[in-house]
Symmetry: C2
Subunit: 344 residues, 2 copies
Amino acid sequence: MANIRDVARHAGVSVSTVSNVLNGRANQMRQETLERIEQAMKELNYHPNRVAQQLKTGQAKMIGLLVPSIVNPSFAALAREVDLAAKKHQYRVLLGNTYRQEEEERAFLEDMMSHGVRGVIVAASNMEKPYFASAAAQGMIMINYDSRMPGGDVYNAMPFDSVSMDNVEAGRQAAQHLIDRGCRNIVFVTEATPTVSRSHKIGGFLEALRDSGLPCEHRIIEGKALSAYGDTEMSELGRALAGKVLDISPHPDGVVAINDALGIGLLVGLRDANISVPGDISVVGIDNIPLSELINPGLTSVMPPLAKMAELMVDRLLVRIEEPAIAPEEMLFVPTLVSRQSVR
Amino acid sequence: MANIRDVARHAGVSVSTVSNVLNGRANQMRQETLERIEQAMKELNYHPNRVAQQLKTGQAKMIGLLVPSIVNPSFAALAREVDLAAKKHQYRVLLGNTYRQEEEERAFLEDMMSHGVRGVIVAASNMEKPYFASAAAQGMIMINYDSRMPGGDVYNAMPFDSVSMDNVEAGRQAAQHLIDRGCRNIVFVTEATPTVSRSHKIGGFLEALRDSGLPCEHRIIEGKALSAYGDTEMSELGRALAGKVLDISPHPDGVVAINDALGIGLLVGLRDANISVPGDISVVGIDNIPLSELINPGLTSVMPPLAKMAELMVDRLLVRIEEPAIAPEEMLFVPTLVSRQSVR
DNA sequence: TTGAAAGCGTTACCAC
DNA sequence: GTGGTAACGCTTTCAA
């Protein structure tokens, strides 16, 4: 592979001049020189060596994406959007699956450091862990996806931006939709692990019930997923929780699932119990994974504006790499309800 | 961040000595020196700069993974297994989504070159395209996943390894399972684009019918998917093709779908038409995506040994990077049938 | 057993 | 406007 020196020689100029072209400093260059250089690049099929650029500048044109598991459709969708957004800036995405293992998270961050990656999007992990702070101290820029940041003082002490769907609004929309369609006995079904996004969703959900004068007691049905949050496990949980929903008497007429994977499991569990959806019970999910459109009945769901969110995260990351002093912010995105057949 | 010189200084040795430790050449080193160096690394929290190593050695500890879309569950599953396999060798995975755009594929390969990545796993793309050959000529090691390689002379001229499920066997197993369960009027439903893996599956399918003395005429039902092979499109196609299946008279009692996404669509389409699965028609898919376990009825499917395949691909890639002269091979993996509720 | 120094491909500063 | 050259952090050969 040709290098910058070959190009310089071939064009009869110095290395610095070629470098100037490469770095957009060709404005006050003689037109003829520029052309000769560009010509040489073409002829030699020259592509700058990113590794050398990195070594010199300390900047890799890569961002890291840390997710629990790419097999989970929500994170696959996120990965796609992040990839797309990164491409607009000529960045590539380094993927890290952590399976919720602390050791994997730590190793990923360290690897990113040594690979010269300066920015990482961290999806759905608890950023209070010390290695996040320590990576930040070493200059790693991180941005949190999906509101796993603790609130209050601790949050303010954290040097991380946070981007998420407005989970309060999501919970509210889901509940309100059921109320609008005539449901009056509505429950919220969820995995038991407490997170900020979870409590926000529940908050919005209860708010909607309260605003409509519906009872707010014993509305939360929860269960513990078996293993790390694979999608399959989440759906299995949903299937199991269908039983708990039907233990309630009288049967609820509307259910909000904390995410679509769980909602889909719920659909299966209800069908197993010969309950008709939406005939007997209406179900709304939160997430809008591709699958929700495919199954029967299609799962009505509250959808985050993922593409916009990914773009903002990438943009923000790149800005912050240049200007680390910018104060961290929490950015919320308003979701939209996608209506399908699981609600009457 | 501390560098190798800091460590050397701190330990009172030369840079080369530290480098020797880093590269496992510490066997004939004085124990005491080694300890001092290791101590210094700890104290300074030293991590070697991969970028500098790369620049020097031309080897990035990264492999590329080129997939049409990570949102497709089959590729997400592949990505997970590849990530796991790569981790065993301390490699990271650079993800490229191409959405079946030639331009994206070309750009990805070029980027990998300039990032110093020496090995790429190429999933389900036609490797006859000239840029693959050109990347290979520049020293990029590539391995093809899922048998999209052309056969015969052209194949032999290609410097690529190929790893795939034994698609003939997969088609055979699917058909044989239906036959074993008593189906006698069996069809194969597929997307229309011709590929090697497709024709192998069909080949195995027909072979099984022939061996059991069943009719082999007009057994292939096909349709064109709308856009790039998103999973959604594939399922939509399956849903549409349910109609074509039911146009056959008498109705088939068994269907093999070329992949699970299509099979799931088929299930939905059949239900829409008030056909019972498996009561009236049995369905088998090929792929075994996580979703197949979740839906109702669960889709019986032929499963490739993905983890093994990913491990072999990564191992082979790394071997070949060291020893590019090794003759390319085609490696086939025997699939297993996973029985669920979609077959009577 | 350890050290000195060249060089990987690029950038950026300072001369001319 | 263009060129010379010292880094960036590491590996590796050669010498001591």
